[in-house]
Amino acid sequence: MTAVTAVTDHTDHADRPDDDTASRAREDEEIWDDGLIARRVNENSENDEADGTGTPAGDEAPRPAPARSGRPRGAAGAGPSAYDKPSRYGRSSGYDSGHGSTSVYDIGASRETTALYEGPLRGRLDALRELIGLSRTRLDSTTLAEAGRVLDEAAARRRLSDRHTVVAVAGATGSGKSTLFNALAGVMISETGVRRPTTAAPIGCSWTDGAAGLFDRLGIPGRLRRRPLQGSDADAMEGLVLVDLPDHDSAAEEHREHVDRILRLVDAVIWVVDPEKYADAVLHERYLRPMAGHAEVMFVVLNQVDRLPGDAADQVLDDLRRLLDEDGVALGEHGEPGATVLALSALTGQGVGELREALGQFTRERGAATRRLEADLDAVAADLRPVYAAEAAHAPGRARVGLSEEAREEIADRRAEAAGATAVGQAAERAWRRHANKACGTPWLRLWRWYEARRSPYSSILRPTLRPPVDEEATARARVEHAVRTVADEAAAGLPTPWGQAVREAAARGAEGLPEALDELALRAGLPQGRPPRPGWWPVAVLAQAAMTLLQIVGGLWLGGQIVGLADPNLGVPVLLMLSGILGGPGVEWLSRMAARGPARRYGFEAERRLREAAAGCGRARVLDPVAAELLRYREVREQYVRMARRNASFG
């Protein structure tokens, strides 16, 4: 069963141009008839075969020895990082659909290419991976899909040869892509004609060996891989892999799909336009404007200048430059980085030499893949900007994201209010003073008060004779809810929507058990039970008050005695005694009230403080800490984003 599948799988590849390896594999297949082993062998021979593709018979590309010696695949992991980890993001990329294994390229390429992806790009890619990891749970996967795809493509490209530069030739129908392709290759590779559309599937042409992996990734089958004419300029164009694309604007939908897919994978693009079509909306709106950031890896050539009379070619070229400028494509003039714009005629050969030279120079620099990925990262950074970067206008004057001190204070206040801390404090203070007054007041005043209370028909109802029953749900739910919402809003202000949402959710989660917890706290730290404590000076005050009363009584009795005749008539002393008693009583009362004020306030403050602190602590642990953690996470993510978004960031 497995053997059968293995065989069919194998024959798929048997029609490759160099059947040297294929026939060897077929021999293998006859010898190893066992299903499992046969499959393994096929796997190996497939790899060999892929290696050999694009290599002229007998001319083996120099390869590091371990590549063939069946080293375990894990060796690929010895590379500088773990880019090989499959990501769940990203659409299917063509390179891994066709072949069972790409491990050979892994080993070979990672050895060769370590130098290419060191430096800024590496740092940015690392930052992007961190970013995706950190924000996966906060953002929906469609937002991150493009970022994941770029990461995957970067990893895939990295595994493949950096000696090659993959350049696609793209353009509208009839602009002469294939003619230009043939002119560059020097041989008739791609079919040209007046029938539109001409080229239906991409055709590849490699100037240097070892591009099989790149072709596999582009999904170009072996029968469409070509070699250029061996000539004098083969060295000048070393490392170039040219891909002739189908048109992007014909009525044939699948052509456009081909173009869109391959344009995402190549290192650079030559846009071929002609005098008739150079201002097509589809070209500018669908391709050039979105890819304006990729100007550095873009050539725009105006083909068919032989059709234009006189100086019209220059006019059209200038107009093309103007349009490109309007699209936002930077033009590579005066040595600045940007797109190269050329006029040529593939038919007559006019200007092709210039393009060839530019391409050769471009390829020799070997920077196209890196620059393309940099541009991809720039595009991803721009796409993700609204998700990660807070709008500055939204929160003026907020230098940093986080909870301000005032916000913390405010929420503490609100929560204390919800628990009734202020009221408790005031009530405690007043109770203390009431007791003090009661204890140190003149007896006559107390007598009068008692009488008043007796006379009043309804005060007895309201006078709590017992301690009130323990209240359930003593905390104001609405206040707690409101406080939490306010603090969450405060913290989320200025944050990008998904992160603001995360902060609110964290606060809401924390608030779930908060009222109950505050209820419990209020029971423990609430109004002090029983009478307030008595300070040491109370007995003295009571004694003084009693002495004053005694003075009044003694003075009164003395006067009474005089009236009755029991005592010697002496008005001065008893009246003085009575007067001092009558004045001294309220005096003592006033003094003790003054003296009681301080301790009463302290007592009230103490009660309030206890409840307030308990409530604040509870709120901090349940709400503020999760919110702060969420904010910290956002800050971390933003740092990664900034690292990812910044070009020329120093590595590490």
């Binding site: 009839g174 059209v316 349009l323 009530a427 739910r477 919402r485």
Partner: protein, 547 residues
């Protein structure tokens, strides 16, 4: 010449287009309905619906209504195609002099040019067709610079040339795939205003998607169509034209008249005219349409009926988009209603449970009357009520936000909710007003009781505080009710509580209702109603009956 054309026009009126006033009335009604349709909510189909509406309106204004009103008006042939197809050169060559600017730089034609016979000028001078295009007149001296349009309004240049047969007008439209988006819209509008669609494509473009879109649209509208395969290099004329024919046949357009114009050095040069022989067949065909009254009627009737027929599918689509708008608005309203209703229920439940008498207010109540005055108690209770209401409103708004986040229609910036919109202020006002009305009730009651015992008139402040506590405190505040009864009697207390309770319910409804209205106000202001849908369909059915 002129008389002949008019005569033909009149005869064609009688024979082909049976234009009854009812049909025109129906069409005018339909036009008004279409013009009234609005798509303010950013639904996925809304931009498309807006474009459809504008197109439909333009076609009704520019073509259908004027054509049915004046069947004798000259035949309008609009030359349309993609950039660089050589439309202007073709028009110039047909006219025999340079009326439209041609050149190598794209887009060439920025201002549409209409060419007609001098005697037909009055047909196009006014706003009979294309009313929203400003007419620009070029002095009769040829070769001058066209008068530059001062403003950004779209303009139409009208040229006259006596080389054209009377009764025929040619319109050189901008590119249908122009880089300037407004030009694309304008091109579509102009093409829709045509009696005869002349679609131009080239040897390099005949397989492009863009010209085929145009051809398919022409087929859908069943318009009178001519195709021109322009700029064909003479080496490949036979092959390309065969290819094109095959493609046309495949698309079901095999019977469309087809003309091939070879690529000549003049095709690209600035202002060159093609030799008369190159465009003679097309010219002859167009002249034939004007000369032969049967052919003219056929061409007119076909395009007009095609346009009328296309309404059958386009109007229901528009009506569907209107319905989708209304459905989205309903969903948004329902989300708001649901959020506020559930919050309303929650508030009532909390009031019943005495949740206002909690926290600060509860502590005050427990300290009353020994350690707390009545005004303090009243303030604390009112503050509790205020917080409860504010909390309900913010919670409802949050629920609305949550629900609306899933609705694409809610992405309109006008519908965005601002968190500090003064709700706390409004609620504070409402609670204070409630408190004041409560005080009035208490004073009423005291006045009623006064007569019995003048000396022991209860303190209104105490009574108000007790009443508020009793109303808001639920079971916890039962002793407040007792205190109230002891002061104003059981009957008086019952009356007060009854009136106060009703007042509380009324204020609660008022506060939440007002906030809900505020939230819905921007949505209501958009004016999304279900009526336009029914009206559109009704107008269409009237039209169908009249045809």
């Amino acid at each position: 010449m002129l008389q002949k054309a008019v005569k033909i026009g009149h005869s064609s009126h009688v024979v082909t287009l049976d234009v009854r006033p009812q049909l025109l009335d129906a069409l005018t009604t339909l036009r008004e309905r279409v013009a009234a349709a609005r798509f303010p909510l950013p639904l996925p189909g809304a931009p498309r619906a807006r474009a459809n509406r504008d197109e439909l309106l333009a076609q009704l204004d520019d073509y259908l209504v004027p054509r049915l009103k004046a069947p004798e008006a000259p035949l309008l042939a609009v030359v349309g195609g993609s950039t660089g197809a050589g439309k202007s050169t073709l028009v110039n060559s047909l006219v025999g002099r340079q009326v439209s600017e041609a050149g190598v730089l794209r887009p060439t034609t920025r201002t549409p040019v209409l060419v007609c016979h001098p005697d037909d000028r009055h047909w196009f001078a006014g706003v009979r067709i294309l009313p929203d295009l400003t007419r620009v007149w070029v002095p009769r001296q040829d070769g001058d610079e066209p008068a530059p349009p001062a403003e950004d309004d779209p303009v139409l240049r009208v040229e006259t040339a006596d080389t054209l047969p009377a009764g025929l007008a040619l319109l050189d439209a901008p590119d249908i795939d122009c880089l300037v988006a407004e030009n694309r819209v304008l091109a579509a509008q102009l093409i829709c205003a045509a009696d005869v669609w002349v679609t131009v494509t080239t040897a390099a473009r005949y397989a492009d998607a863009v010209p085929w879109h145009l051809l398919r649209t022409a087929k859908e509208h069943d318009a009178t169509l001519v195709t021109v395969l322009d700029r064909v290099p003479h080496q490949v004329v036979a092959e390309v034209s065969l290819q094109f024919e095959a493609l046309l046949a495949k698309a079901g357009l095999g019977d469309v008249p087809r003309f091939t114009v070879p690529e000549l050095p003049e095709s690209t040069g600035g202002g060159g005219l093609l030799p008369a022989t190159a465009v003679a067949p097309l010219r002859e065909w167009l002249a034939q349409q004007v000369r032969d009254s049967a052919a003219r009627q056929g061409a007119l009737a076909r395009t007009a009926h095609g346009a009328l027929g296309s309404l059958n599918s386009r109007l229901p689509e528009l009506a569907g988009a209107v319905a989708a708008q209304y459905a989205a608005a309903l969903r948004l309203t329902a989300a708001v209603d649901e959020a506020y209703e559930s919050e309303h229920a929650r508030v009532r439940e909390r009031l019943q449970a005495g949740a206002v008498l909690a926290g600060d207010a509860l502590k005050r109540w427990r300290a009353y009357p020994l350690d707390c005055g009545p005004s303090e108690l009243l303030d604390a209770v009112s503050a509790g009520l205020e917080t409860l209401l504010l909390c309900a409103v913010t919670a409802a708004d949050e629920r609305v936000d949550e629900a609306w986040r899933r609705e694409p229609a809610a992405r309109l910036p006008e519908l965005a909710h601002h968190r500090d919109n003064g709700a706390d202020h409004r609620i504070g006002m409402a609670v204070r007003r409630w408190q004041r009305v409560l005080e009035e009730y208490v004073e009423d009651e005291i006045r009623a009781v006064d007569r019995a015992d003048k000396s022991a008139a209860p303190d209104p402040e105490v009574l108000t505080a007790l009443l508020a506590t009793a109303l808001l405190g639920g079971r916890r505040a039962s002793s407040a009710g007792e205190g109230l009864a002891a002061r104003v009697g059981a009957h008086g207390a019952l009356r007060l509580r009854d009136r106060g309770g009703r007042l509380l319910t009324a204020y609660l409804d008022k506060v939440l209702g007002a906030e809900r209205e505020r939230r819905l106000a921007p949505l209501d202001a958009l004016g999304v109603h279900p009526e336009p849908q029914a009206e559109l369909i009704a107008a269409l059915s009237v039209l169908q009956k009249e045809r």
